[in-house]
């Protein structure tokens, strides 16, 4: 049964991947500037000193003289083999840069999500157990403040307080350079937003589950309150929380871009921003494709976890 659902989900997953690849390809061709000139290291297109023969040669070499459809098939085929060419601007193999950057981002985001889930679910549980009008307002305000704080601004405030004034943590976020302490501030900055949302979601779905008959049954059976909360209630309350986690991964990536730039972490976001500023089209294409695909895979995984946890759900 699980396999069947998985295959059906995979069936919609593959066209999405192809769509992202198409978008990345179009992106490369819609970006202003002639790649052949870029490859030669010439900025101005109308520059008079250009050797036209040289440009033609490079154009042929890059396959830019072929019809667009053939270029497209060619690009997809190369992408499938992990070949995105060499960067025109900085002379390195694009895939190598991505392979170096991707683990950093995934590591950062994974740690962030874990932190957000632990903190969010705990706060949500606590506020659900001690319910009341004041608790309701506080839970709501916490989540609003968490969602409203701009990630990049929050990161700067954290740096100001904990790196410059208290000197507890380093300013950079590179683990090799500063040790594991370096990740505390980046993770804290990105985790604020999802933690607030998860806390709120946990609280509201816990409150709903706690009003069910089965909780009364469990209580009348004389079970410990902690057992009721953690085993009976949380298990049923966790579904909407997982949905929020799934939705949040996209927002996380957005926040991570700014955080990587601030803490000079060499991740996908930093790679993408540098590529956009440098007009490095090949790196841009590859980064968008890799981010899009990773994001789609994460969503697929979240969907599958969803089914595993609650067998009632059929996608």
């Amino acid at each position: 049964m699980f396999l069947k659902v998985f295959l059906r989900r995979l069936f919609t997953f593959l066209p999405t991947i192809l769509g992202i690849a198409t978008f990345a390809f179009i992106l490369g061709h819609a970006t202003p500037g002639d790649p052949a000139y870029a490859a030669l290291g010439i900025d101005l297109e109308g520059y008079s000193g250009v050797d036209q023969e040289e440009v033609e040669r490079v154009r042929k070499e890059l396959g830019l003289d072929k019809p667009i459809l053939i270029q497209y098939v060619h690009w997809i085929w190369n992408a499938l083999q992990g070949d995105f060419g060499r960067s025109y601007v900085n002379d390195y193999v694009v895939m190598d840069a991505v392979i170096e950057a991707l683990p950093n981002t995934l590591y950062l985001l994974g740690l962030t999500m874990l932190t957000a889930i632990i903190i969010g679910v705990s706060i949500g549980m606590i506020s659900a157990v001690f319910q009341g009008t004041a608790g309701d307002l506080i839970a709501r305000l916490i989540s609003i403040i968490g969602v409203s704080t701009p990630v990049f601004w929050f990161a700067l405030i954290l740096i100001l307080i904990f790196a410059y004034n208290l000197d507890w943590f380093p300013i950079g976020g590179v683990v090799e350079e500063f040790g594991p302490k370096a990740l505390v501030l980046p993770v804290a900055s990105i985790a604020l937003h999802p933690a607030a949302l998860i806390a709120r979601m946990t609280r509201s779905s816990m409150l709903e589950v706690l009003s069910h008959d089965m909780i009364r049954t469990a209580t009348s059976k004389g079970l410990f309150r902690s057992r009721i909360f953690f085993v009976h209630a949380l298990r049923n309350a966790i579904n909407p929380v997982i949905t929020v986690i799934g939705f949040q991964t996209g927002n996380l990536v957005g926040g991570a871009v700014a955080i990587e730039v601030i803490f000079t972490i060499r991740g996908m976001g930093e790679l993408l921003i540098t590529a956009i500023h440098d007009k490095d089209i090949l790196v841009m294409q590859c980064a968008i494709l890799v981010i899009g695909v990773s994001f789609a895979v994460i969503n697929l995984i979240v969907d599958m976890i969803y089914i595993l946890i609650d067998p009632r759900i059929r996608l």
Binding site: P15, I20, L156, F295
Partner: protein, 302 residues
């Protein structure tokens, strides 16, 4: 069944087709403002709009007046939030930033709303191949994180304000399209739509006059919830140097500028951030209130 309940629910709050439209609207407003938090967030939103409109009259200095001899001056009575690297008054610039942010966000939402609702209505009404194509494209764009998508668009088009609006609205178009499509799908199976067909009405008339008014509730909810989102995304792009460009005042750019001087001039980053934070709080609280009011059961996810 669920969709029917939702439809009736919205009809209670937004019944534009009945004779008592006005009185039910007033009743709905009264209910909304019976909550203190809603009054607070609404006043804050109005206050921010006031600032956005009257920024030139409210700011003590000209926002682009350069004074290098007074660069990076700390907050004082003369310069409430200090000055930046070229000696410009940060308070005045932050006030003007409100104009930039709000006008950009509003334009983005309106553009996204019109395009998205039309696409969603077409997709939901003419199920089949059109729907399939539109929804596949939507799926693709949904699977690219919002900021990344906007960054890619800005990379192609350049950071002109008009292109920035386009880049920011792509994601909104999709969100509006999805919500509209969902409502249209559930409405068009109802009997009164069949009656419209039997009367020989044109598709356009049925869509715009008889189907779309049912979407007003969810669309209002989505637009208010999304405003904060758009403001945040715009400031993120500006922070990364790919949004609003100098000398136009924008909170994101101002915060980015202060990054280098955080040790000895923290106000350059902190001050505009307070504006941004307050705006986010105002619109998020307001959006939340509207959502709880109009759409208490189904949460429109952002």
């Amino acid at each position: 069944m669920k969709s029917k309940i939702k439809y009736q629910n919205n009809a209670n709050n937004f019944n534009f087709s009945s004779n008592e439209t006005w009185s039910s609207f007033i009743k709905s407003l009264k209910l909304f403002f019976s909550k203190k938090l809603n009054i607070f967030s609404f006043s804050l939103v109005i206050f921010l709009i006031f600032i956005a409109i009257f920024a030139p009259f409210l700011s003590p200095h000209q926002y682009d007046m350069v004074n290098p001899s007074n660069a990076l001056a700390p907050p004082s009575l003369e310069h409430l939030m200090g000055t930046d690297t070229t000696g410009r008054d940060i308070f005045s610039r932050a006030l003007h930033g409100t104009t930039t942010s709000l006008s950009l966000a509003l334009t983005t939402i309106i553009f996204g709303l019109i395009t998205g609702v039309s696409l969603g209505a077409i997709a939901g009404y003419f199920v089949g191949i059109v729907d399939e194509i539109i929804m596949r494209i939507v799926d693709v764009f949904m699977s690219i994180p919002g900021v990344i998508l906007a960054l890619a668009m800005v990379a192609i088009l350049g950071p002109e304000p008009i292109y920035l609006i386009l880049a920011l609205s792509i994601r909104r178009i999709i969100q509006f399209a999805r919500v509209t499509r969902g409502v249209v799908l559930s409405i068009k199976e109802l009997d009164y739509i069949s009656a419209c067909h039997a009367l020989g009405m044109s598709h356009l008339r049925i869509i715009f006059i008889h189907v779309l008014p049912n979407c007003i509730g969810p669309i209002i909810v989505l637009s208010t919830v999304l405003i904060g989102n758009v403001i945040l995304m715009e400031s993120t792009l500006s922070f990364l140097g790919l949004g609003i460009q100098e000398p136009t005042p924008s909170w994101g750019t101002m915060i980015a500028k202060g990054n280098e001087f955080l040790t000895f001039a923290p106000w350059v980053s902190v001050a505009p951030g307070i504006f941004l934070f307050t705006t986010m709080i105002a619109f998020n609280l307001f959006g939340d209130g509207i959502r709880d009011h109009l759409d208490p059961k189904d949460k429109v996810t952002t």
